[in-house]
């Protein structure tokens, strides 16, 4: 066996056994009928997919896209300069990088609760603002869509910083110095040299953030106080509270197809510009 084929073998085994086969099981579930007490069984049916045409679920899907897109845009906007800073730091790169991943080591739930502690009525921010006399009533900072987006951005910001950094780090300082010597302003350097070169990292970061945001359900639950529902919550609810695995499986299948379509589009767009093979 040639080394390159051998290289693929472990990954292929893992993905076949632990991803493809389980997904086929779920796909089969989406075509089954919910049992009287949960579970699933005969007859085979498309009814679960027909239920998806309900405008209620389409509306929720649209809202989820909007929230995930907003969080992704904010992550890229905030993450790019930070990655640039780390890539251009002369010393202690590892330290700066580690400081990005550090918050990750704490549980996601604790990080969320830390924000809830800051944002609630008797939380730190409202207490300080009230103390300074800047407001007379606590601001409703928690339990709304803005809080959900904040939670998502806080949770996934490192996902954009790391891949963008990995790419930016490859750009030698000589290239930037040469551009500056030739009279380019810093803004021009970033726009004409750094951004185009960072494209693969930016796209990787966008994918890494957009996808988990689209399926998120803990953040809307905790930061949104369960007042707004995203598609991730609907799916999670089918597998838990509603015990309607066939419908949950159908919802997941459709969501996955939509996102796959988007990803293919992104790939096509980048290969047109010669970015990806």
């Amino acid at each position: 066996m040639k080394p390159r084929t051998w290289f693929l073998l472990p990954a292929r085994t893992v993905m076949l056994l632990l991803f493809a086969v389980p997904m086929l099981i779920v796909a089969a579930y989406s075509l089954l009928t919910r049992g009287a007490y949960g579970g699933q069984g005969a007859p085979w049916t498309l009814a679960n997919y027909a239920r998806l045409l309900d405008p209620l679920y389409l509306e929720i899907l649209l809202k989820s896209f909007w929230i995930a897109a907003l969080a992704t845009a904010l992550c890229l906007l905030l993450g790019f300069p930070l990655a640039l800073f780390i890539a251009r730091a002369r010393t202690r790169k590892t330290l700066w990088l580690a400081l990005v991943t550090l918050p990750f080591w704490t549980s996601f739930l604790v990080r969320t609760y830390a924000w809830m502690f800051l944002l609630r009525d008797t939380g730190l921010i409202n207490t300080i603002l009230l103390g300074l006399g800047l407001i007379s009533e606590p601001l409703p900072l928690l339990y709304n869509d803005a809080a959900v987006v904040l939670g998502l951005v806080y949770g996934y910001l490192p996902f954009t910083v790391l891949p963008i950094y990995a790419v930016l780090d490859r750009i030698g300082p000589e290239l930037l110095e040469a551009a500056e010597d030739l009279g380019a302003t810093p803004a021009q350097v970033v726009r004409r040299i750094v951004l185009p070169l960072a494209r693969p990292g930016l796209l990787a970061g966008a994918v890494l953030v957009f996808v988990p945001c689209l399926g998120a359900y803990l953040t809307p639950d905790l930061m949104g106080g369960g007042k707004s529902i995203l598609i991730g919550n609907v799916i999670q609810n089918q597998f838990t509270n509603a015990r309607d695995w066939p419908f949950g499986a159908a919802l997941s299948a459709v969501l996955m197809v939509i996102v796959m379509g988007l990803l293919l589009l992104v790939r096509r767009k980048t290969s047109e510009h010669g970015g990806l093979p």
Binding site: R34, G35, A36, Y37, G38, G39, D54, L56, Y57, E59, I60, R120, D121, T122, P140, L142, Y143, D221, G224, G225, G226, K227, S228, I229, N233, V234, N237, Q238, F239, T240, N241, A242, R243, D244, F247
Partner: protein, 338 residues
Amino acid sequence: MRRRYFLPLLGGAAASCRRSARRLYVYNWSEYVAPETIPGFEREFHAEVRYAEFESNEELLAKVFAGNSGWDVVFPSHYFIPPMVENGLLAPLDHARLPNLANLALASPPWDPRLAHCAPYMIGAAGILYNPKLMAEPASWNALWDPAVKGRITMLDDPADTLGAALKRASRSLNSTRPAELAHARDELIRQKPLVRAYLNAEARDQVMAGDLMAAHLWTTTSLQAIAEAEHLRFLYPREGFAEYCDCAVILRECRNPELAHDFVNYLLRPEVAARIAQHTATATANAAARRLLPPELRESEALYPSPETAARGEYFATLPAAAQQLRDRVWTEVKAA
């Protein structure tokens, strides 16, 4: 392998087998035993108990549904007992090994009249926890629909409980499956939504205590924990009616050591053991003999053991048919999406 290495290894394996034969895997709700409950059993029965906790019935059910979870004794709520029996997940209880079943107040519950599969453990209900300094007594569910409480109340993040509250407010059954009644409940919950700060379960407790909230739709146990820490708070069952449930001990069919599992359930049913648990967790025990051992302030608590006229307004959740569950789930999703 050389023989002299092999023999001790074999001996070790046999010893570990013997040890695991005295091992019991228990999966229970969080904060549902007293600190000395498990060590006490381990000492007396020379067994090791591996004890873990879950937060919702769904978490438990997702695990045990396919019948190879590794757990021996688990504690589902009563309305999951019929589905679990239906799906062949539960081992029948051997009453000869459970003499302490006689201590139960609920000797013949509607979901399992002969206690063929379950031993009722704790009884709970949902009512209103409120702060009397901030609002008048919410004697009716209407208090949670009053514009004056805008942004200062929470409802439970549980479709059965919260749809149940809206149905009770309209003097309907918790378990209604009638589309018109459910549509009315949905409209009322959507009308209430701008007043609701959030849909929260146990997290609401801290916020009521901190004074962020005037009132919260909450379970009895959680409310009593809040009152134990902040004595000015009050809890009541609204006059239109309220939801009740009962968490039960069951032995799974996959259990590898049914004798030890029966010993464990029987141990939990001992009056003094059950009383310690009830005292520590401030929950209503289903064990009549244990209740008699409780200190008077717990034994006579109106929240834990409602008087007959209050109890008459309570209604147990029922196991609903598939179509009704789908309808109720869609209604709940509409409320959440509004």
